[in-house]
Amino acid sequence: MTQPIRLVVRRTSDVSLPVEVSTRIPSVLDAVHESVEILARHAFAGLTPTPECERLRNKLKTLLCESLANAIVYGHHEDPTKFVGVRIEVDTTMVRVHVTDTGDGFDPAAIRPPLDPADLDRETGRGLLMIHKLADSVSFNPQGNSICMTLRRP
């Protein structure tokens, strides 16, 4: 990691209010894993570690990996001076993840994953498909440079 990650965690004694974890991550692919682990640890800090919770945590980590890698590679072209914004809200019913870059954005409808037999050898292009599969709902801002992914809590 090139520089420390500064995390802001908002947690209150009122359980009806969401726990909020936010940070900015430098656009370096090597920073993704550590950032994902730290974010998931803090977002789920108060949760009982049941198998269902562990499953949810792994889904959250995969969604973070996908969206951060997309923002870093396609949004910021791996420019380490640019930062990706991440905000995670956890309440009693759901986990919501917002990932925002400062790039031009893209049209998610234009992405075609390599599903034809002749294309299966392609190394890339499956990220968005996986995000839609793992998250219970997915939305983008009009510019296409900010994604919001929601996971329902078991």
């Binding site: 692919l29 894993h33 994902v36 499953r55 890698a69 299966l120 050898d121 498909l129 599969k133």
Partner: protein, 111 residues
């Protein structure tokens, strides 16, 4: 967390994924398999029984490794995928590209 490589009695290189196969460590796996290919290894089993999550970069790395192994006349199998991980292979249709076994034992017997 990373990868643990061992060779079984039948000459299969068993690579265990510890924790995750993602954008941050996929190169390490690619390098490990490439070096083994350079040392004339041809049978590979990637075991996911200790893996928690895989992202699309990890899947892409497996696709790339599989191609290289096939080009060298070798064989690559996967095992130990939990329900969530297996569903990602089905979603991306990569279950049709890879030979997937439930357990390491079953996978080793299939070589």
């Amino acid at each position: 967390m990373g990868f643990t490589a061992t060779k079984d009695k039948g000459g299969v290189m068993v690579v265990q994924v510890d924790g995750q196969l993602i954008v941050g460590n996929r190169q390490e796996l690619k390098q490990l398999v490439q070096e083994a290919l350079d040392h004339s290894e041809r049978k590979f089993l990637v075991d996911f029984s200790k893996a928690g999550y895989i992202d699309s970069s990890g899947l892409g790395a497996l696709v790339s490794i599989s191609k290289k192994v096939r080009e060298q006349g070798g064989e690559l199998r996967l095992s130990g995928l939990n329900e969530d991980l297996r569903s990602l292979f089905e979603l991306t249709k990569l279950d049709t590209l890879f030979s997937i076994s439930d357990s390491t034992k079953q996978a080793l017997a299939a070589f």
